[in-house]
Symmetry: C2
Subunit: 548 residues, 2 copies
């Protein structure tokens, strides 16, 4: 039999366009002789859906859209991911289409991620009647004499249930897993490894079909792949792009003599490459799916804005990116010369708007109230916020969006001005520690200097007062990031972190305290492109005020 893997990039809520794309793909696959056509989890609706699932008629509209797809795939069996409502609850489901109609609907047994669990019920939830308790249902279909077990998303983690099929002698010929995987560092390599082990353990071939695309803070890399019954990889799909691939499969011969591929191996460079591609996709789709073409970026002469500008150029094209330099009395000469060099290197327009006049006017306006009080963080923040005013004004005037340049280290420590540094439609680097930003810069410069070395080599500074350096207020980033990683990603206690990282306990305590008391700033950040499993704005939800 011929199996078509359709890895599409759906737009959340845009059911008509998603349907049209799918209909075309089914027709194309069908014309190539496909017997089975696969689409990823929630491919028809897009993901994540949030409360759109409960919007009046949304699930009905999705279900109605199946008719056209079924019509296009009359000669084959098609599996499509979509949300369905039953008994006033929403389920993450897969519809099986064949002969021009909807044949069956399979519901995901137990949604796993928090985002999913917010809206989707599991079929063994106590509120849902008619399901067996605590067991994953077996959705087995037969296509062309091949018995196929269909598994929706993370239901694959119930390996006990999957294994039953082997033990009872009802072993399927093939497991098909329809997914929507949120990108995270190393997930590509880990998934390949896990599926490979699982296929070998079950002695059953596995085909995975995902979705791709950016949806605000979430990137779906794709992750379509296939493994034979020995766990060897027979197909590795493209990541971060759409794809339609045909695989031959036979109940006896499996994938036949297709060459086996080596599993992807994680490295520092693959990590930076994947993160870069994920960010480019996130930016491209945020703009494209939102009807915007052009980006405005504040260029400080530092590494963060340089990396964001390079990503924006890749995502939108150089002619659609404008850099804005906003020097003050405290700006170094390099902040201008380096930004100009960067803009030239990227081929983007770059304008200079000094904040001096506005800063002076602000101080004059406040003078009656501030009197002779010394220069404090209040005056530092004014500068950052005036830059925010200018950037937003430029964006508003020319119908563009501001890209935010805050990184995860700054965001964790609250090192940045709310309504100034934190502005923007999308935080591109908000889930990358400063040291990881340098790794991405290295990747960007892999074939020659794109980001000027002077930018990469200078000491980070906010330049909000005379001679300021980040290192005046923060530990060196290589040390800070190790501590933050332990506290955030590994949820280590302060004591363990100090011992493990070889950092003084009072430093760790101070970092831990900064992390906690700055939750209020993260609460008002733009959506942050998730690159880790512990995005500060989404996966680690701490109370805004906490005394602990």
């Amino acid at each position: 039999m011929k199996i078509a893997l359709c890895q599409i990039n759906p737009t959340v809520g845009d059911v008509s366009n998603n349907r049209d794309k799918m209909t075309e793909m089914v027709a194309a696959a069908s014309s190539k002789g496909a017997d089975l056509v696969l689409f990823g989890e929630l491919s028809l609706s897009g993901a994540p859906l949030g409360d759109l699932v409960f919007h009046p008629d949304f699930c009905d509209k999705c279900f109605s859209a199946l008719a056209d797809i079924a019509e296009a795939g009359k000669e084959c069996v098609t599996l499509v991911g979509l949300p369905v409502m039953a008994q006033d609850e929403a389920f993450n489901a897969v519809a099986m289409l064949g002969g021009g109609e909807v044949k069956e609907v399979f519901m995901k047994a137990m949604p796993s991620s928090r985002q999913e669990r917010m809206v989707f019920s599991g079929i063994d939830s106590p509120e849902f009647e008619g399901a067996d308790d605590g067991e994953m249902p077996a959705y087995t279909i037969s296509v062309d004499g091949v018995d196929i077990l269909v598994v929706v998303g993370d239901d694959m983690r119930f390996t006990d249930t999957l294994e039953c099929f082997g033990r009872n002698g009802e072993k399927p010929d093939l497991i098909v897993n329809l997914t929507a995987k949120r990108f995270a560092h190393q997930i590509i390599e880990e998934d390949a490894e896990n599926y490979s082990s699982l296929a070998a353990a079950l002695s059953t071939p596995i085909i995975v079909c995902g979705i791709t695309g950016g949806c605000v803070d979430t990137v779906f890399h794709g992750g379509s792949m296939a493994f034979d019954a020995e766990g060897r990889m027979v197909f590795k799909g493209k990541n971060f792009e759409e794809d339609l691939v045909m695989l031959d499969f036979d109940a006896r011969e499996g994938f036949g003599r297709v060459p086996r591929q080596s599993l992807p191996v994680s490295s520092k460079s693959s990590k930076a490459r994947h993160a870069y591609k994920a960010m480019v996709m996130a930016v491209r789709d945020y703009f494209g799916k939102n009807g915007f073409k052009r980006a405005t970026i504040g260029l400080s002469g530092g590494i963060d804005s340089a990396v964001v500008a390079a990503i924006a150029v890749d995502a939108l094209g150089a002619q659609c990116v404008r850099g804005v330099m906003m020097p003050s009395r405290f700006s170094s000469e390099g902040s201008i010369t380096d930004s100009i060099r960067l803009a030239a290197s990227l081929g983007i327009e770059c304008v200079e708007l000094s904040i001096e006049k506005m800063f002076s006017a602000s101080l004059e306006t406040l003078a009656p109230l501030f009197g002779e009080s010394p220069f404090t963080v209040a005056e530092e923040n004014i500068q950052s916020r005036l830059r925010g005013v200018l950037l937003m004004a430029v964006a508003n005037k020319f119908d563009t969006l501001v890209l935010n340049t805050t990184n995860k280290s700054e965001s964790a420590m609250g090192y940045g001005t709310l309504y100034g540094d934190t502005n923007g439609a999308l935080s591109v680097l908000g889930d990358l520690y400063k040291t990881e930003v340098y790794e991405v810069a290295e990747y960007i410069n892999r074939n020659g200097e794109v980001i000027p070395e002077t930018i990469i080599n200078k000491a980070p500074s906010a330049e909000l007062r005379e001679g300021q350096r980040d290192s005046d207020s923060l530990p060196p980033y290589d040390k800070l990031d190790v501590v933050l990683y332990a506290l955030i990603e590994e949820n280590m206690s302060v004591m363990d972190c100090a011992a493990e990282c070889g950092v003084a306990i009072d430093t760790v305590m101070w970092v831990d305290r900064m992390l906690k008391i700055n939750e209020y700033k993260r609460h008002q950040l733009p959506p942050v492109v998730s690159l880790s499993r512990m995005t500060l704005t989404k996966d680690r939800t701490m109370p805004v005020i906490v005394k602990y």
Copy 2:
């Protein structure tokens, strides 16, 4: 037996202080002869906890704190709400203390709210071993010969299970429900009604013990009360404050001859009064629990900033509130005179900082880029953002917090400037429709004019261009709010809404579209004090970009 209801206001994470407060209360109750001392759900840890539950040692610290409370209540039985970890999962639990030690721990069977379900497991979750499937466990304790069924929070909704006790003849003498109820319009009246019906239906007395206090966006009103086996209310606790009350109970006589009270009835004025008290508590606790004393509020001369200022004065005291008037060339004379009158009426300091110099400097700075382009929303937004710069500068300089004055109607429609109008530590009115803001103003003026009538009677305007009125861009608020209520709180379809509200379909479609496309602004709002069951920033989570 004597039962002490201890309705406390815990601070999230501040286990030591919460413990000390509880220890004192237990000692006080004990000295009054209490046999049973009750504290609300999560009273020891505070709520909502979010991922603090998973913070290393947090649950251990809570558990350890039980020792002191148990010691103080050696002579009685004490029930304390706290989070516990078991098998690497977190549970919303109640500990029973007696004889100076922890006797038992009861876990909530099935967390109900989204916020809870994000972090707490249910005991019938498939991942949790050792629990019976799909049944609520019966936690029955015996104190002084009285059989008491202990129910944690919303587990009360499993009335089937509660009823079993009646049917099997194992009927308890009393049901004790420990809760942490998030305030919402009408919840006080509805809860009283529901508990009354339930007590009557089960022919069993019910005692409810809650927690009170504000935690950022969440207000716990309290809601402690008691009902006899006929469903008549025998005790109605104070709301929006701490309370320690002793009730006499006897297995045969119930609550005895205590006078029965009438159930609270909802009205327009009780709705405004409760909302007002909830906002005052939210502001007071946001500041108090965060170590801040003083608030900065931008006074526009409009109703929203006037109501926020009145609330802040009630919460913090007049000497701790500063109003800032920030007129521009487009400000009406009334915006200043009315604000001055308001400040005098409230007894607060009021300063005037014109944005004219800063606005001129901004236009000059942007002139090389903007050229001769006409005055657009870009220039309108600059003014709002400059006000944001000034407000934040004043707040930063004097160690105060800015209170946000956006209301729910504006927030729904995106009628407000991001990083300008949307600034602040806490959005006080963000869950009140404009028409509800007027109702609260009426309540504030119930005993005489606090908010000048000229403020209440003027036509709402953002005053960002010559002669601007809200009604230039929006339908009249009484009409708009009816449509928004139908779309948001009642999740009505556009067609149903038009029919139901008697509003033209194209108006409803336009409102629906504005609601959807402005999710990005709400994403960056400060925490919004929840007053409804459908707070836009928390309970209705729509994708930031959605094509539907």
